[in-house]
Symmetry: C3
Subunit: 311 residues, 3 copies
């Protein structure tokens, strides 16, 4: 693997998932692979799970880890040809080349503005690092994608699935703040590569990008969509069409134990209780969110392993 | 040791102190014990000594250390049943379970509000982690206790004591800010378990919780209390009864070389010079504050060692 | 080496540079030297390159690294005899002695005020640590000096120089903010110790301290100064005489490809494009800024190596 910034960077998904599950049983098996190799983790935004699980994954492989909150240093310039006499102190061209010399792999988290759709969709932070860095880039959630989360989700579904082609439903939920589409996007793309039956349900106006959903069925009737589901992935996102807007906080879209039926409940966390999902679901036996979070380590570890093997 | 959130988690104090002093002479003796084990340090509040000494202790034992300033990420919810549509993004139930999967031990620092006595005394942060985490919890100073500091203090007194039952005085001192009772509480509880003669002195109104002091003598006359002391532990705390209030900044309670007599001077640091204690004491040979701070490493190390041995 | 806070702490520059270049070819050769040794990095100011390169250097030598942003903890007091009843919580005397017990080497970054010249020139942060710490101090940029940068610069010039006594020009450049003289000072002092022909060029009013420049030629005509240069080091600094002031933002002082001639372009980074230097220079083959930044690792590593050898 030469980088992991998007789902399609995985060449063999089934084998990757199998290898991740194997790492989970023996996390230190490849602890010599990362010897004398350094992961630099760059955070443009806050993180708990991604930070800890990715750091843990790297250390399981024997890597050194250096963590930098970029905003604690200074603002980077991403535009070409700018006269940098205002708020930016360093151009991405220099920053990416320089950091590449201290790192064998660079992992980056950079959220979208949710105000400038074109700029967000250009993935200028992630893609500028891909362009100017001389080492592999790993996406720890970008403007439009969260591929490490999606890989952890795929691992979790593989571990738990009891049938050949499980029904998986991605269900929108209300939230007081405008959130990115990144998790939903990557989950949809990942499921499209799995042997599952995927349905998306959300209120009208919450359509994800057509470039992502393609011909995945969308159902605006949540109850109907959830019928006979094996896995229900709940997530809020802000509007893609009316970009970054909160169009609805309709409480009737909150996930409940009744609606869930016999399905497993999935969420990437953090989750707002009794807004996105009721306590009864999270505290019940059908919730697999803790297992999902644990799989973040092994998703990151299998990606770093494949990246290290290509260095 | 299954956790170390309060003094009474130590089962054999004398042996623990002896082992800590032995670690000080040979800090890397157990460097294989922590192999493949991770300490996650969670800071809800700033730290210098506790941060560095605990990180050092873990590394001396061969552990990996991951440090997270929780407030840099987001606010945690600690109440049950809340509709989380306001300022909190993640419930402690999820956070504690998730972090447990990335950690073999979790160490936590979380100061009191000093405004809500009942809530502070409930130790809701520390106790919620104890309740929901699946790995041992170590207290790096909580609302009402600082047991790692108290253990370092006990080690220091043991190293320096020249008599069978030394006289130890805890003396309140003035301070411009309202400070927690945590250090004083844990010091009192620790001394109650040591073979020492403990007296507490403070202005009226500064009584610590009766549940802590029990039948330890309290003397409002500082000069009288200090007579023939072998160790004088100076510390400010805000009022417990008039909760969190600064009732006095009476400069006459500042510790001086004259008052100190022949006693050793102790303080947990940081200390405000010429407010809590005069320069002549800190710069003199009777001050043992630097040795105390050094013992923070070995207090943390013996605790982590005992925790690792029970995993 | 007992410390590295100023250029003159290097006893044998030629050999040090040679050894640094050798480390670059074999960075893990001395990975046992730092075993059981801890570098504590204290940041009073933000850092990207210095942080990552110094951390990397220490880890290449097998050291443990602990990083503390001092301002996240509390303000330190540096004055003697103060009544500490205001904004400072801990005196440098305690802080330096305490941190020394957790560290084998302490590295410090502390920028100048640029308002109080006497205080800045006293180097009170760096010198207080030198005075009170019991372990070696390494300067990661102080009020008036950046000796690790200067050593990286010397390594770079040595690697690239094709003639016996190359002409090196330090050329002032415009910048919207008031910047320290530290980089320029240390570069001048370092070059004075190298077998190079050094000239300084800047607008009138931007004279560096006479104590630094000594008899190094200063030319206020940039074009004339740059003639036949082999290396052009471009850097902004604020006025030393009219202390900390921005006297000019004259765009005609920006470095251009035309002005550069056949010289190599050097800058410590971060650099503001099209303010300090035009894109054509940075994107061209004469720019060696990325190589300079890479040499930061080996400058730090040779310094730490020499410090460790003297412990």
């Amino acid at each position: 693997m030469k980088k992991y910034t998007e789902i399609k960077d995985i060449s063999n998904l089934q084998e990757t998932i199998k290898d991740a599950i194997s790492l989970k049983n023996n996390p230190f098996e490849f602890e010599d692979l990362g010897k004398h190799k350094t992961l630099v983790m760059l955070f443009f935004n806050a993180s708990l799970r991604t930070r800890l699980s990715t750091e843990k994954a790297a250390k399981n492989l024997g890597m050194e880890v250096m963590i930098l909150n970029v905003n604690d240093a200074w603002n980077l310039e991403f535009e070409d040809g700018t006269i940098m006499n205002a708020n930016t102190s360093e151009h991405i061209k220099e920053a990416a080349q320089v950091i590449s010399q201290y790192a064998d792999v660079i992992a980056i988290r950079a959220f979208p503005s949710l105000t400038d759709k074109l700029k967000d969709e250009s993935e200028f932070v992630m893609n500028s690092f891909v362009k100017y860095a001389s080492v592999p880039i790993v996406n720890m959630e970008s403007a439009t994608a969260h591929p490490l989360q999606a890989l952890a989700d795929a691992i979790t579904i593989t571990e738990l699935s009891k049938k050949a082609k499980p029904k998986v439903v991605l269900s929108w939920a209300p939230h007081p703040k405008a959130l990115p589409q990144a998790v939903a996007n990557s989950f949809v793309e990942m499921m499209q590569n799995m042997d599952v039956n995927l349905t998306i349900t959300h209120p009208k106006g919450y359509e994800l990008s057509k470039a992502i959903t393609k011909n995945t069925p969308i159902n605006h009737n949540q109850e109907d969509a959830l019928k006979d589901a094996d896995f229900v992935y709940v997530k809020n996102w802000s509007s893609y069409n009316d970009y970054g807007k909160v169009l609805s906080q309709d409480e009737s879209w909150m996930m409940t134990k009744t609606k869930l039926g016999n399905a497993k409940f999935m969420h990437c966390l953090p989750v707002r209780r009794n807004v996105v999902v009721e306590d009864a679901v999270l505290d019940g036996e059908q919730s697999v969110v803790i297992q999902q979070a644990n799989n973040r380590t092994f998703a990151a570890q299998i990606v770093l392993k494949q990246v290290l093997e290509k260095l």
